[in-house]
Symmetry: none
Subunit: 265 residues, 2 copies
DNA sequence: CTTGTGCGGA
DNA sequence: TCCGCACAAG
């Protein structure tokens, strides 16, 4: 028996918007510690990892660990039937092949439930080692999204972005059909709100190249958090992390391009 | 001679948006009592009935009853040329085969008139008996529209919706490609505004099945009224009614599906 | 946050 | 033509 009650149902809606373009089918794993998902994108290049800790739910019951395979487009469609202020409850029996999403309006005058068949999905749960990163950039998530969008418009999403971190700041560079572009963000903690700050924790300067189109996909998570952190080390996948308030995180992992080829499909 | 002056021209625009998808050609009937229309949809399954009482017009002159056949798409196109705050006047001579729509801007600084040919349309005016309904649900029209839209998104519009009324509330159910859905709305009169209330007048519980795509078409009338009433009895067509303030109503009639087949083209 | 509107894409 | 998305207003 599994029963998860999430008062901020809109979080779940945003999570699905943030991953459904990258991953079509995935297992949601539920255990006493929380609700999580780990999946490669369909071209097996990027990895998405979601964690919603059990203590972030208003009610969290999970008698035994369950892995529930779902088509994320279907889940997204169901969640579109929930209003942003609805309370969402996810229910499943231990041996059932279906899951039920229940949406309650705040005043309890409308209750909707949707039952969906589960799928069998080959699990590929990878252990992701905790690493020390040479540089960690934290910046407003909207600013990061804007940069990725702007750089994409210069060339097209088939191009690469070079992210270079020095003590002074972080530089995003690309080269495209029209020309080349460099956007530099400097450290900046003298800001009204802490989430507007751009901070850089740098042990060593680092400069890595990534496929821009993945970065753009990652920014679908922007509504989840006002800031994003980008953790980089040479020869390690970059981690783009959006914290989910009081509950966990949504992380994207992407391996750097080894050479400095600018184009790649 | 016929001359109808409607200060709230936007009403007429909304009416046409609400019926033109269902009905392509229809007779507008004008008599001293008002301006009305009754027509079957093109597949002869649903019936649309409009009434705009003469006292709702600023000026209403109708020397003798007239039935004016029009292509509703053409009328809709003409009305798109009127601004929402324009005053609309409909004119026709008794023996003419044309009708004129005149649009005046509120400050009288712009006057447009459009003449359109009338058509001969075989009239099929049905007497609709006043019936006692086992259950009448009144709810916010936007909520009803949202429910129909959500249920359609689960399967597709080819599916059916089961509407069941009990004392506690009204339940809308469907079953689709992705899964099954139930949405329950409870009675709820402790609301700030009366039009936000959901009320149920129930003599007997009733449960009927309808083609979802027609329900969805009916919700095109949502802009006409903040609330909708759904009147049901076993073996009678459901009546979905949108009141038009101070003037009349727009009603849709739809026969229930006899069997419980879920799919139907 | 919801609603209405304008725009672009399918 | 219709639908979904993005923007702006209440």
């Amino acid at each position: 028996m599994l029963e998860l009650r999430l008062v901020q149902g809109t979080l779940l809606k945003k999570v699905l918007e943030a991953i459904k373009d990258l991953v079509t089918d995935a297992n949601f794993d539920c255990s006493t510690s929380g609700f999580s998902l780990q999946a490669m994108d369909s071209s097996h290049v990027a990895l998405v990892a979601l964690l919603l800790r059990s203590d972030g739910f208003e009610h969290f019951r999970c008698d035994r660990a369950l892995s529930m395979g779902m088509n994320l487009n279907h889940v997204s469609k169901l969640l579109k039937c929930a209003s942003n202020d609805d309370i969402i409850t996810i229910k499943a029996d231990d041996d059932a092949d279906t899951v039920t999403f229940m949406f309650e309006s705040p005043r309890q005058d409308k209750i909707a439930d949707f039952e969906m068949k589960l799928m069998d999905i080959k699990s590929e749960h990878l252990g992701i080692p905790e690493a020390e990163y040479q540089s960690i950039v934290k910046m407003p998530s909207q600013e990061f999204a804007r940069i990725c969008k702007d750089l994409s418009s210069i060339g097209d999403t088939a191009f690469s972005v070079v992210i270079s971190v020095t003590k002074e700041g972080v530089k995003f560079s690309t080269r495209g059909d029209i020309g080349s572009a460099n956007i530099v963000c400097r450290q900046n903690s003298t800001v009204d709100k802490p989430e507007d700050a751009t901070t850089i924790q740098m042990k060593e300067p680092v400069s890595l190249t990534f496929a821009l189109r993945y970065m753009n996909s990652f920014t679908k998570a922007t509504p989840l958090s006002s800031s994003v952190s980008i953790s980089m080390s040479s020869d390690l996948p970059v981690v783009v992390e959006y914290k989910i308030a009081e509950m966990g995180y949504l992380r994207y992992y992407l391996a750097p391009k080894i050479e400095d080829d600018e184009e790649q499909s």
